[in-house]
């Protein structure tokens, strides 16, 4: 019977001790510990979420990079093609122009030659005329009659004539 009769002293001390323990631990130990634990859990779940989000973002970035690369490649090809056609065009037009120019130059040259030729012919004609007159004059001066002497004279004149 003694065993199951609560003793007054022990009830008193147990109540006192437990009350004080409840107060002290509740205020200075469990509160901060529980707060720290829930804070840590929040931190972990936040970090996981962040990691997940980052991963998804990275995937999106990679996909867009791929797209960009593809686009760039296409762009480059297009540019190359344009450049090539442009080059062809430029070369073609340059060639054409050069031909044109050449033709023009040749034509001009021809024209100039013709002109010069005509001029020269005219001069030649004039000179020949003057010469003929000169010769005729000389012949006339040397009296007509000396066949051989005249021939020599004429050839002398012709030799002296400087056909410029």
């Amino acid at each position: 019977m003694d065993l199951v009769t609560p003793g007054f002293g022990l009830v008193f001390w147990a109540t006192l001790t437990f009350s004080i323990l409840l107060f002290i631990l509740g205020k200075f130990a469990w509160k901060p510990i529980l707060a720290a634990l829930s804070e840590r859990e929040k931190k972990i779940s936040d970090s996981l979420e962040l990691a997940d989000r980052t991963k998804r973002e990275m995937e999106a970035v990679a996909a867009s990079n791929e797209n960009l690369l593809q686009e760039t490649r296409l762009e480059r090809e297009k540019m190359m093609k344009e450049a090539r056609t442009m080059k062809d065009e430029i070369i073609g037009s340059a060639k054409k122009k050069a031909e044109e120019d050449a033709r023009q130059i040749v034509a001009q040259a021809k024209e100039a030659i013709d002109k010069e030729k005509a001029l020269a012919m005219k001069q030649l004609k004039d000179t020949a005329t003057l010469l003929s007159i000169d010769i005729a004059e000389k012949i006339l001066r040397c009296k007509l009659g000396y066949g051989k002497e005249q021939e020599a004279l004429i050839s002398e004149y012709i030799d002296n004539l400087n056909l410029n």
Binding site: V4, P6, G9, A14, T15, F18, A29, W30, I33, L37
Partner: protein, 379 residues
């Protein structure tokens, strides 16, 4: 990282036994060790002869066991040549006639002497020689002292880990990693499901204190002698106080629905309530039996554990009385069985603390439940 932290760790492992010794030292000096030195020569001589006579008597296992599981005014460690070696504890008595009286229990000389008109009776209880005198015995008994030691150590550990968390050390280390799973277990497996996600936080400090108080006292009870060996949680006074805490907290935080449930249980045919109030009677019995069951379960479990282990040790002496050789032979079996029981008691120490806390949480949950449905009555 590791090298950086190792000095602090070394300091901690070095400090731990130091702190323990310090606590023990304070207690022993405070309570005072009573060995032979405390006794006058004549008393010691008297003692010896008495004990000698006692030795001739037959070994009484029942008495021995009860003596060990009951509270005492001194902390008995062992007997040397028939002299009890024990730590003397303060006796505090209060009576309206004589006021407050404090003296060490060594004054009683283990029940052989009376002091200030008080003496120890056969049950190790203080009785006044003046039969008329009514007094309150609020002595620091063995159980009180053991409880205080357990509480101080619990406080040291709890403050240590709370400091660690406050410092921002969120990854547990050392004793922190022992306590943390228990705290999280109590929060997630006991408080949250029993009380509900919204209100469990209000009861967490109480539930944690309750659990660790019981758990630590259970564990200290398993240490054979000082600072353990006392049967704190196997004492009905302690379990009664704990059960009353649970009872009052659940009653004071109870919502209207809880009282209605007791007086006019919903979902029960009217004829169970009206002419003869059968349901209310059952409910009211349940209301009071809940804390009673808490009290008795813990008391009986821990008490039984202590008694079984002591029983195995008593076997040695029972057989030893027949012949020394049989005693030695039985001791092998007894030590083995006591070891086995000790392991079982470690489990029980946790289990009973858990069960007590779980039931407390369930009672709180029932008390604060806002509305009862059909699934509510489940006792």
């Amino acid at each position: 990282m590791q090298s950086l932290e190792s000095p602090a760790h070394k300091e901690f492992t070095f400090l731990k036994p130091l702190r323990f010794l310090l606590v023990s030292f304070i207690f022993t000096t405070f309570f005072g060790v009573s060995a032979f030195a405390n006794h006058p020569e004549t008393a010691a001589g008297e003692h010896a002869t008495e004990n000698h006579e006692a030795k001739k008597e037959k070994f009484k296992p029942g008495e021995t066991i009860l003596e060990h599981v009951k509270d005492a005014h001194d902390w008995h460690i062992c007997d040397i040549n028939g002299h009890p070696v024990s730590i003397s504890l303060p006796v505090i008595l209060y009576s309206s006639e004589k006021g407050l009286e404090c003296f060490m229990s060594s004054k009683f000389e283990h029940g052989h002497a009376s002091y200030n008109g008080y003496s120890l009776d056969k049950n190790n209880k203080i009785v006044a020689e003046d039969k008329e005198l009514s007094f309150y015995d609020i002595s620091i008994t063995k159980n009180v002292a053991a409880m205080l030691i357990a509480v101080i150590i619990l406080c040291l550990i709890a403050f240590r880990i709370s400091r660690a968390y406050k410092r921002g050390q969120l990854v547990p280390k050392g004793i922190q990693s022992f306590m943390e799973p228990l705290i999280i277990f109590l929060r997630d497996e006991v408080a949250k499901p029993s009380i509900g996600d919204k209100k469990y936080m209000r009861y967490m400090p109480f539930l944690l204190t309750l659990f660790f108080f019981i758990f630590f006292n259970n564990l200290f009870g398993l240490i054979p002698w000082f600072p353990g060996g006392a049967n704190v949680t196997g004492n009905i006074a302690v379990t009664m106080v704990l059960a009353l805490f649970v009872f009052f907290i659940s009653s004071f935080s109870a919502k209207k629905a809880y009282w209605i449930h007791i007086i006019n249980t919903p979902g029960v045919p009217w004829w169970l309530k009206f002419p003869v109030p059968l349901m209310p009677i059952v409910e009211i019995i349940g209301f009071f039996s809940k804390p009673l069951v808490l009290m008795i379960r813990l008391f009986a479990n821990i008490m039984a554990g202590h008694i079984i282990i002591l029983g195995f040790f008593c076997l040695i002496f029972i057989f030893g009385e027949m012949s020394a050789a049989v005693g030695y032979g039985v001791s092998i079996f007894s030590v083995f069985m006591a070891l086995f029981m000790g392991c079982l008691e470690l489990l029980v120490a946790f289990l009973q603390a858990y069960v007590f806390t779980l039931l407390a949480a369930l009672y709180f949950g029932q008390a604060i439940e806002e509305h009862h449905h059909e699934e509510a009555p489940h006792h």
